[in-house]
């Protein structure tokens, strides 16, 4: 019954994709690493409560675009961003905006699982602690439990919350990192090839998780796997040589793309 209704909701969502409001808007976004230009005037909007997949061959700028969305490029020397990115109504690159606050609203999960060398509990509680989202022990316990449940990890770790997070398997570590991102209650979660270091079974679990997270979060995922993009996303954007080639509903993208390059890439003719 429950599964049925979820499927029905999903179908309805998919059909009305073009009416879903935008969560983030990227306008004429260009990125320079020193003298080298990595992105060329990309116009890409991210829809709310949708999984948007960014695909393209290596070095096409998809990760670079992802990292502009929460200003992670700031940590790289010589990196310069032009154009405009908004989150709801706020300009992400406005000097007045607090980058720390921005990253609390736009969380990130990385390519390689990177749990902190702390216990599982402290890994999840890290974000709430620095942002003051919980105060008492029981509040923290609640946040940790719900976050781990959302990440589908609770049943596997509930008996060993105080063991080091680095002791988990690769797939569990990545879901722990997702739980850690979820614990801050962000509006958007960015995922940079979250499954590239995982085996197929762990990958399936993470994909399932992404699917479920969609109801509460807006998700942008960079992936090298065409199948993954097709499985988890509703919208897909194709990058090539720093340009946005095409952005469309995932179904359309994989069956009848508008651009010849997308067709070629999806068919495996280059990349």
């Amino acid at each position: 019954m429950n599964i049925m209704s979820e499927a029905a909701v999903e179908k309805a969502l998919d059909q009305k994709m073009n009416t879903v409001p935008y969560k983030m808007i990227g306008k004429d976004v260009s990125v320079y690493y020193g003298e080298k230009r990595a992105l060329f005037d990309v116009n890409l909007n991210i829809r709310e409560n949708t999984v948007t997949a960014l695909i393209g061959p290596s070095g096409c700028g998809k990760s670079t675009f992802l990292r502009t969305l929460n200003r992670m490029n700031d940590t790289i020397e010589n990196c310069r961003v032009t154009g405009k990115i908004t989150l709801d109504e706020d300009d992400v690159y406005d000097p007045a905006i607090d980058v720390v606050e921005l990253r609390a609203r736009v969380g990130m999960v990385f390519q390689k699982p990177n749990p902190f060398p702390k216990s599982i509990y402290d890994n999840v509680a890290y974000g709430p602690r620095i942002h003051g989202l919980a105060r008492t022990k029981s509040e923290f316990d609640d946040v940790v439990e719900t976050s781990l449940q959302k990440a589908g990890l609770w049943n596997e770790v509930k008996d060993r919350l105080h063991e080091p997070g680095t002791g988990l398997s690769g797939g569990q570590q990545q879901r722990l990192c997702i739980a850690r991102a979820v614990a801050v209650s962000p509006e958007v979660i960015l995922m940079d090839e979250p499954c590239s270091a995982l085996d197929p079974i762990a990958t399936a679990k993470v994909e399932e998780l992404i699917h479920e997270l969609r109801s509460n979060f807006t998700i942008v995922i960079v992936t090298h796997s065409m199948q993954q993009a097709a499985r988890v996303s509703q919208r897909t954007a194709m990058f090539h040589l720093g340009n946005l080639v095409e952005e469309n509903d995932t179904d359309k993208m994989f069956t009848n793309p508008d651009d010849q390059r997308t067709q070629d890439y999806i068919m495996g003719r280059f990349g």
């Binding site: 992670m72 940590t75 990253r103 609390a104 990177n114 060398p117 620095i130």
Partner: protein
Amino acid sequence: MSTSFLLLLIVIIGFISYFAGRARSFAQAGGKLSNLHSLPGYHGSYVAIWAILPAALVLGAWLIAAPVYIDASTRAALPDTVQSQGGATVELALGQVKSVAGGLKRLTAEEVSALESGSANLRSTLAAKGVALAGEGEPYMIAAAQHFNAMSVTNRWLMSAIVLLIAVAGGAYAIRNIATRFRARNQVERVMLGSLIVASSIAILTTVGIIASMLSEAGRFFTMVSPFEFFFGTVWDPRFAAAGSGGSSGQFGLIPLLAGTLYIAFVAMLFAVPIGLFAAIYMAEYASPRLRSTAKPLLEVLAGIPTIVYGFFALVTVGPFLRDISAQLNGLVTGNYQNFIQAQSVLTAGIVMGIMLIPFVSSLSDDIITQVPRALRDGSLGLGATRSETVKKVILPAALPGIVGALLLTASRAVGETMIVVLAAGVAARMQINPFEPMTTVTVKIVNQLTGDLEFTSPQTLVAFALGITLFVITLGLNIYALYIVRKYREQYE
């Protein structure tokens, strides 16, 4: 021929062997290098090793053994009247014979015959040639000296001939071995391995030797002063080592020295750790690459300053400055311009030693902090943590084992530091807790006990070895503990 000339000849033979070996392997290969198991260079090296190594080993052994044999033979040639007077007289006579032997070489044939017939005085003849004898020469010495000279000459020739023969024979043997499938490369590799092992065992054996000699000297000290008195004594008053008096007339209490050592090291760490650690965090996490590339070497220049220079700095600048400023402060508060910080004090030595230690702390910690994976930084920043939150909650905990190890290594340096405390801490062996008063350290007392005209039989000098071994055990213990901590935490984090 002289030893150095002989060595030169061996090396030349080695060179020739190298090229001969190469040429022979070329010839065997018939112009196609792929026929050979090893490259021609390896064949050359193989032959050269056979030419040089055995010859050099024999030469070394000969140089050690021959003088012993010649001395024994000359000793036997001395007349019975001398032999019967005991070891000391024999050695004295042997020494004189050797001087005469050296002198005889400078004399002309007529002068030698005049000496032999007894018509010339041995001492004055030799003195005229610039060879001073310790006493009037005895007639038998001329014969013994001539015996000595003859043996030395024969020995030289024999040694040269045999060593050169071995070199040539070794080379020839090796050349005969060369064949296309001969594994010269593996053989050379084994010699390389052997030489590496020899090098590392020399280093280790030296350490063992130093410890053994310290232990045996300390053992002699403990036969004169009881270990209980040394390790638990609270008074350090060794008195002077009056020549010939012997016996333990002073008091050798280690505790005041140990207290001073640890106190000064503690004050030094109190200065060095926060400053060094903060500098390291700034360099590793905040500084731009351009600033880092200039500031880091500048900081490390501090580590290159000889510690005696820090000593001057303490003696001439920091000590008087602290003394004067304390006088001013006292005057402002109480109206009595009397300094309460001595020029030589725990504080002076601690501050200056702390300055010396800053680059150690910062450089070691900086290396450790930059080794923390970038993924952890990104993970924390991506959750909306600020830089300092990231440093405090993620980077430092991850780097902690390494940092603790670095701090313990620094502490062991502080405990063993000598020149700064010699100049800045004073020499008064006292037990007190006022950092503004002078105290002294183990190293200072080692220096004190070993400067001047010494005889190594009194406890006043031998105590230095007991102090040295104590210090060694302390620093060794610190280092082992540092390794233990590092290992324990590493298991937890990886």
